[in-house]
């Protein structure tokens, strides 16, 4: 077993276990905190896949930004002094059917695909390639997204002023 295998299984375990807790826990704040570990595990897997930039962005945007805001929101809007922020389960039967179908389809696809392995070296940094691609080939998309985000920011600011 290679060291990267160990690391992979570690991250996979973190991701899956915390994701499991996210859906099973009845406490919203806890769920939010466990989601943090899920994101973190996913970021680790990105690194192993050679997508280091995506991994760091995952960390900065999801863990450092969105999730913190989420927790903030949950904390502010609820009666935080008591720990009884609970969620319930509803529509168990339709959900079970839906999830069952989805699992079946995914399982079937996984089993029926012919997987083949490519041996690679230790992944190298994707950063400069990514940068060049963003500025050259995808510059329009990049700029459009930038403008979209700017508009969203201005909108949020103007809404917050009201």
């Amino acid at each position: 077993m290679n060291i990267y295998d160990i690391i992979f299984y570690l991250f996979a375990a973190v991701t899956l276990l915390s994701a499991f807790f996210v859906v099973t826990t009845r406490n919203i704040v806890r769920a939010a905190f466990f989601l943090l570990f899920t994101f973190f595990g996913v970021a680790g897997i990105y690194v192993l896949l050679g997508a280091d930039f995506v991994a760091i962005v995952q960390l900065i945007v999801y863990v450092g930004g969105i999730l913190i805001l989420l927790i903030f929101g949950v904390m502010i809007t609820n009666k935080i002094t008591q720990v009884d922020i609970k969620t319930g389960t509803i529509h168990t039967l339709p959900a079970a059917i839906g999830v069952g179908l989805f699992t079946g389809v995914i399982g079937a696809v996984i089993l029926n695909t012919e997987w083949f392995e490519i041996k690679t070296d230790i992944p190298v940094s994707t950063l400069s390639t990514l940068g060049r691609m963003l500025i050259n080939e995808y510059v329009l998309v990049f700029e459009l997204l930038g403008i979209l985000l700017l508009v969203a920011l201005i909108g949020a600011a103007s809404m917050a002023r009201k």
Binding site: I3, F33, F53, V63, I71, L127
Partner: protein
């Protein structure tokens, strides 16, 4: 590199990686924390006309060790109404966050956890875990002071990340690299090659850059100071208002974890400033090892220069802490959004123009 060297030595990549990942903790963070706590006490004492700890060892040098022993044997108190899992997890998370940052910090040309290309962004990213740890501690403690402290901490750290990142972006734009190792290598040889003095470039560009670099350095030092919650930005643990903020309910080793994380963070941000503007591990005036032809001496010299630069900035942090009063929470936010962020934008733009020249 350390990893390759260890790999050759031990012949096992798992072992080599394990040792490399633990080295910063045992070679650096723990001894540093021991030293920094004592330093903080002595610095504050001498600034305040006192002597500080004097009884444990010569001039109290063993005081922190005595403290650690005390903390270790303290009862681990967990208040009844806390959220037990999160309460226990929070100090770990905060410590992991600051510990992970050390993976990308080049202590010398030889001693780096990883030469990751994204070094500086990686450090900013993992610092997010510290925020999560603080929020978790504040919420799990089920104490209003902790909660207020945690909220303030999170708001503060997230806000001050913006000017930090803007200045980092300026440096990235100027140097074209995100790797802390490359950044340090770039500012080699003598101190006039440091980025604070315009970097290794020559001519008009260098002279034009100097004022912006000095301003950028001040901004990033201020905002990283806020990110590690030190005075005058220590409102999350303002002891006169919130008792001690998010770690009010913690005792014993869990408290020590937060403490360790704080000191590790102090060094981490000082290291970032040192690497980005003051040449990282580079000596300001050449290496003795090179002159004498003893190449093995160079990494040791580099380690020495790096730690002394880092410690100097830690000392400045302490100096500020024992001199200045504390901001109020809204003034703190106003300072960030009204002054630091616009200024860093201006620096970003102008440095970009200069770099294009």
């Amino acid at each position: 590199m350390m990893y390759d060297w260890l790999y050759n030595l031990t012949g096992s990549e798992i072992l080599a990686m394990f040792i490399v990942s633990l080295l910063p903790l045992f070679v650096f963070i723990l001894p540093f924390a021991l030293f920094a706590v004592l330093m903080e006490r002595k610095v504050s004492a001498h600034m305040q006309d006192r002597l500080g700890p004097m009884r444990t060892g010569y001039h109290g040098i063993l005081q922190t060790i005595a403290d650690i022993i005390k903390l270790l044997q303290k009862e681990d108190l967990v208040p009844t109404a806390t959220d037990k899992i999160l309460f226990n997890l929070a100090p770990l998370l905060a410590f992991i966050g600051s510990y992970a940052a050390f993976a990308a910090i080049p202590f010398s040309g030889f001693f780096i956890g990883t030469k990751i290309d994204l070094g500086i962004i990686f450090i900013v990213g993992v610092t997010g875990l510290v925020v999560a740890g603080i929020l978790m501690a504040g919420w799990a403690s089920n104490n209003k002071y902790s909660l207020l402290g945690a909220m303030r901490a999170a708001a503060q750290i997230i806000s001050y990340e913006i000017p930090t990142l803007l200045i980092i972006l300026t440096i990235i734009m100027l140097t074209g690299t995100l790797s802390l190792y490359d950044l340090s290598e770039m500012q080699t040889a003598y101190f006039w090659n440091w980025l604070i003095l315009g970097g290794p470039a020559v001519g008009l560009q260098k002279i034009l850059l100097i004022p912006f670099m000095i301003m950028g350095c001040l901004i990033i030092y201020t905002s990283t100071l806020a990110e590690v919650n030190r005075t005058p930005f220590d409102i999350p643990e303002a002891e006169s208002e919130l008792v001690s903020g998010y770690h009010t309910e913690y005792s014993g080793m869990k408290f020590a974890m937060f403490f360790l994380a704080e000191y590790a963070n102090m060094f981490a941000v000082s290291a970032i400033v040192a690497i980005m503007f003051f040449g990282g591990y580079q000596s300001p005036f050449g290496y003795l090892g090179n002159t004498l032809g003893w190449t093995w001496l160079v990494p040791i010299e580099q380690f020495f220069w790096f730690t002394s630069k880092g410690l100097f900035f830690v000392f400045v942090q302490m100096w500020l802490r024992w001199t200045l009063p504390r901001f109020r929470v809204d003034q703190l936010m106003a300072f960030c959004w009204k002054y630091l962020i616009p200024f860093s934008f201006v620096i970003l733009l102008l440095v970009g123009l200069i770099a294009l020249m």
